[in-house]
């Protein structure tokens, strides 16, 4: 991603962002709410309009037809049909994405939702609905997985399990980009992108960031960087 600028409603939401993602790594996109995390992810997936600059994904321009199977995107709000069961949702999206039907059972296991397979999505808790949405994105075994705040509102056990899943996916060769506004999730990432006011203010490993700023945790590191720039 080079020189990414995104305008929405006459305002520059992203003001020149450059970075590249590495396979086998979990990259965390951190920053306060409203800093442009979602817009950046949407530009990467190719669903954001008003984009200038160069966004290349797996060798092709973002949003190109050939990428739609290879990129998985999970929005912050679960984008699934609440009046269908978990399995019905997954079967439908598998047909649309051209994924084999046996993937339905596999992804159910990956997000630990086998017990709820027959239930309507609207009867599930918020965290369970988020996992249905995540499972949908895993159907095609994407090479790039873009996750917008996937662990919001989850209990600590589930959060740990989901991060373990992200780690397994990354180890299997998937490039994973996870956004969060919770700074304590940063330590689980291999690499951090700190976004503030539409600009990247840091791009490095968590340990390196802590050493460079002399801060005790990522929250303080973020504060140190924000104040040094103000």
């Amino acid at each position: 991603m080079r020189g990414l600028v995104v305008e929405r409603g006459g305002r520059q939401v992203l003001r020149g962002v450059d970075f590249s993602l590495t396979p086998n790594l979990i990259t965390g996109l951190l920053g306060p709410s409203g800093c442009g995390k979602t817009t950046l992810m949407r530009a990467l997936v190719g669903v954001q309009s008003g984009v200038t600059g160069e966004v290349t994904v797996l060798g092709q321009r973002a949003g190109t037809r050939g990428l739609r199977r290879r990129v998985g995107y999970v929005t912050q709000a679960p984008a699934v049909y609440s009046d269908l069961s978990v399995t019905e949702n997954l079967r439908y999206f598998a047909a649309v994405a051209g994924a084999p039907q046996h993937r339905v059972g596999e992804v159910l296991g990956e997000v630990a939702l086998e017990r709820h397979a027959g239930q309507l999505v609207q009867q599930l808790s918020g965290g369970e609905q988020a996992r249905v949405s995540l499972a949908t994105a895993l159907l095609t075994v994407p090479e790039l997985l873009v996750l917008d705040e996937p662990t919001v509102g989850l209990d600590p056990v589930l959060r740990r399990d989901l991060w373990a899943l992200f780690r397994r996916l990354a180890d299997a060769g998937t490039t994973v980009l996870v956004s969060s506004h919770v700074m304590d999730e940063a330590v689980r990432c291999d690499r951090l992108l700190l976004l503030r006011d539409g600009r990247l203010v840091a791009d490095e490993a968590p340990s390196h960031l802590l050493r460079r700023t002399g801060a005790s945790d990522i929250e303080h590191a973020f504060l140190a960087i924000a104040e040094s720039r103000a």
Binding site: R8, G9, V45, G46, V47, Q48, S49, G50, V51, G63, R65, R68, R69, V71, Y73, T75, A77, P78, A79, V80, Y81, S82, D83, L84, E88, R91, Y92, F93, A95, V96, A97, G98, L120, T136
Partner: protein, 245 residues
Amino acid sequence: MSARATLATTRRVLTQLRRDHRTLALLLLVPVLLLTLLRYVYADRPVVFDQVGGPLLALFPFITMFLVTSVAMLRERTSGTLERLLSMPLGKGDLLLGYALAFGGVAVVQSVLASAVALGFLGMDLAASPALVVLLAVLDALLGMALGLFLSAFARNEFQAVQFLPAFVLPQLLLCGLFAARATMAAPLRWLSAAFPLTYAVDGMQQLAGSGSFTGDLGRDLAVVAGASVLALTLGAATLRRQTS
């Protein structure tokens, strides 16, 4: 285009509808009840019942599919599922055709039921065969669906989507020839009426009521209704943007 994605969309839309018992009941029973009501309004004037009831067989599927589709598409937009679908390898044609097959199927059931009750129990007397009545009703349903799909792109919420019915459908209804014969209208109104697709839907049903054979006028009506549906679907497809702000 992929047949698998199209048929999966049809199945998904029908499953959602099947879960919603009340909507399904309203879709299928309201036309029957309204026709029954009309039968007793014109209890001593069966000819008027034929003249007004016939076109209603064309209007019910049009209006209900317009409403159901605009709300269904609006839901797809607001729930994020439309964005997800468009970020997947799904052709817009697959989505539209999937919807058309699902709602077309519902329209067949709806109009078979309404025609059966009107012709069988309420004594409605149409010259044409019931099969032609159902064919025209299904085309009208698809027209309503296509217009609803297109207009739903301009609605931000359910309030607006539902208000599109009086805004876009009532003017067509007033000028379609049901309330006043088109020949008696002032020239500008007649032109406007000629530009509205619903005029041809209602005219087609009037043709079916009056003549048992397939007339040239009926052929024109069917062609205009089908053509307008295709046009609206094409415009609707253009409103499905893969990139949004």
